[in-house]
């Protein structure tokens, strides 16, 4: 069996659900048969301050609880975080930055010097999507969908199932819709990339 270990780092701002995004994917990944571990790097948890969380997905039990320094994927929930935080720090060559970003992938590629680093970049306007569906700029579920669509590690069906278990009532339906929209959008973006 091929041993896989996928490490992901999430960047967001307090209140957007960067921690929950990693947690949702940990639950979903396990449903798909992987071992998973998610954990936050807590600061003083204030609304609006930069927040980081981590996710590991593997086909063997995960024992490493140190922070993720060389992620395979970086997921950014808030475009403004990138103004103060070097989100691509340590991102593996061949790795991917999946960002909530209002402009094109090409624009962000230049900004983070993607070609020099040998990384891929995929963007989605998750804030706009979240405003349309939820009426609030909370982007975690959109970015969970985007991660799924970009990586194809976890099926859309599983993500929708997990989101419906996590949230209740109308919020569950809206977030499931958001996950699906982002998933399909990102799948398309990444297909065009290849």
């Amino acid at each position: 069996m091929v041993k896989i270990l996928i490490e992901v780092r999430f960047h967001g701002r307090g209140g957007q659900g960067a921690v929950t995004a990693a947690d949702l994917l940990a639950v979903a990944g396990f449903k798909e048969g992987y071992y998973t571990l998610s954990f936050p790097m807590f600061g003083a948890e204030k609304r609006g301050t930069p927040v980081v969380s981590f996710l590991r997905i593997s086909d063997e039990p995960i024992v490493a609880r140190d922070e993720v320094y060389n992620p395979d994927y970086v997921v950014v929930l808030d475009p403004t975080v990138m103004e103060t935080v070097n989100v691509v720090s340590g991102l593996k060559k061949g790795g991917m930055l999946i960002a909530n970003y209002p402009k094109s992938s090409e624009d962000l590629k230049k900004k983070v010097k993607a070609d020099e680093m040998g990384i891929k970049v995929a963007t989605i306007n998750a804030t706009k999507m979240a405003m349309e569906v939820l009426g609030r700029p909370i982007t975690n579920t959109a970015m969970v969908g985007a991660f799924g669509g970009a990586t194809r590690l976890i099926s859309l069906e599983t993500l929708v199932e997990v989101v419906k278990e996590w949230f209740k009532g109308e919020l569950a339906e809206k977030n499931a819709k958001l996950v699906e929209e982002a998933y399909r959008y990102m799948m398309e973006v990444c297909r065009n990339e290849d």
Partner: protein, 391 residues
């Protein structure tokens, strides 16, 4: 059933299955969600006859548990850091009164400066209280440890408080797969608490009262004897747990690669990563093994003597400091193996206040010791050079 749950829930769910009579707590990060989960279960009527009491402080919480436990109740609380320190006056009493209180300490650094992050300074401050201390490696072990803690603490040969120590954040906030226990299994493993003596108006008793010099010392000798008996009781309970749950977490210590020349000794959540590091270093040809200390009180003296008798170098990774000497685990280990091992002891304080301990950092410490780049003795590892302002 195996499910991805948060560390908090793995503890709270296990506590519920142990059918406590009284839960009393005061919130403190990173413990709060344990008692929040229990409070929600209580509100939903899932805790049977249990009373859930919100305290005005940790001091109050511990005090109420002393009362409840003395009245014969099975009790639970969770705390950490400043909260544990605030409880300490009461907890020393609880041990002296021989009350089998089970508490979870979600290990967190002590102030000052204020830190909400993980190290072991808080539980180490309770070292001499007469409280049993077990450190867990992951959330499954935390989940499994709760019923075992009650079974050991409530054994009439023991009757002492039991503190399950789990690393704050690293475990409490982590979502990971946990095989959740079944009620029937816990019921058959853990019988209802039958106190040896308890407060009742029918047969009035006093707990922890005045003991003048002609009688005090005997109570303290009895505590030590109870701790010594606890070592055997724990082994029986650990073994029974392995049989009924199918998960064998080992005895007071676990030893990976017992024939090694160099050993790393650690407690808590860093052990998992260390196991990986040790495996990789062995692939490079280093003769290195790993000792996980599970039981810190009672201390595994004989086990460490046996495991380290032929060791050449021992690296102890402490997550706290006894200022003016060195890390407490190292102090205890040296004292335990004195005269039984001629190993050089390398005592390192690491990961204080949540300082991360990446894989490469751990590997370098071991490699440097193996290559003779370190001297035996005490040192801090993983801090930045700085200039002290005051001198």
């Amino acid at each position: 059933m195996k499910k991805v749950v948060r560390g908090f829930y793995s503890v709270a769910y296990s506590v519920k299955l142990c059918r406590p009579n009284v839960i009393c707590a005061y919130p403190i990060t990173p413990q709060t969600e344990i008692v929040e989960n229990l409070a929600a279960m209580y509100a939903n009527g899932e805790l049977g006859e249990a009373e859930y009491i919100t305290a005005e402080s940790e001091f109050g919480a511990a005090s109420m548990l002393v009362g409840a436990s003395a009245a014969g109740a099975r009790v639970f609380t969770a705390t950490c850091s400043q909260g544990l320190i605030l409880m300490s006056e009461v907890l020393f009493n609880a041990a002296g009164m021989r009350l089998p209180i089970v508490l979870v300490n979600t290990n967190r650094a002590l102030s000052a400066p204020l830190s909400i992050w993980n190290d072991h300074q808080d539980s180490m401050a309770m070292r001499d209280a007469g409280i049993m201390q077990v450190y867990v490696e992951n959330n499954q072990e935390a989940h499994d440890m709760i019923p075992q803690a009650y079974k050991v603490a409530e054994n009439k040969k023991v009757l002492l408080p039991f503190m399950v120590c789990m690393d704050g954040y690293k475990l409490t906030h982590a979502y990971e797969p946990v095989d959740l226990l079944e009620q029937e299994m816990v019921d058959s493993f853990l019988p209802p608490y039958e106190p040896a003596a308890y407060m009742t108006t029918k047969k009035p008793l006093a707990f922890g009262c005045y003991a003048p010099p002609h009688i005090y010392m005997e109570f303290r000798v009895a505590m030590q004897q109870a701790m010594e008996r606890a070592k055997d009781v724990m082994l029986d309970v650990f073994k029974e747990w392995a049989e009924v749950s199918g998960r064998d977490w080992g005895g007071h210590i676990t030893v990976d690669f017992p024939d090694s020349k160099i050993f790393v000794v650690a407690m808590g959540s860093v052990v998992g990563l260390l196991r990986k590091v040790v495996e990789e270093l062995r692939n490079e040809g280093l003769s290195v093994g790993l000792i996980k200390i599970r039981t810190f009180r009672p201390f595994p003296v004989e086990e460490l003597r046996e495991a380290l008798k032929d060791a050449e170098k021992v690296i102890v990774l402490d997550r706290s400091v006894s200022f003016g000497y060195e890390g407490p685990v190292s102090i205890e280990l040296k004292s335990a193996i004195y005269g039984y091992s001629s190993a050089e002891i390398y005592s390192f304080a690491v990961g204080l206040g949540g300082r991360d301990m990446p894989k490469d950092f751990l590997a370098k410490i071991i490699r440097d010791v193996a290559e003779g780049k370190e001297r035996p003795g005490f040192a801090f590892k993983g801090y930045q050079e700085f200039e002290e302002v005051i001198p």
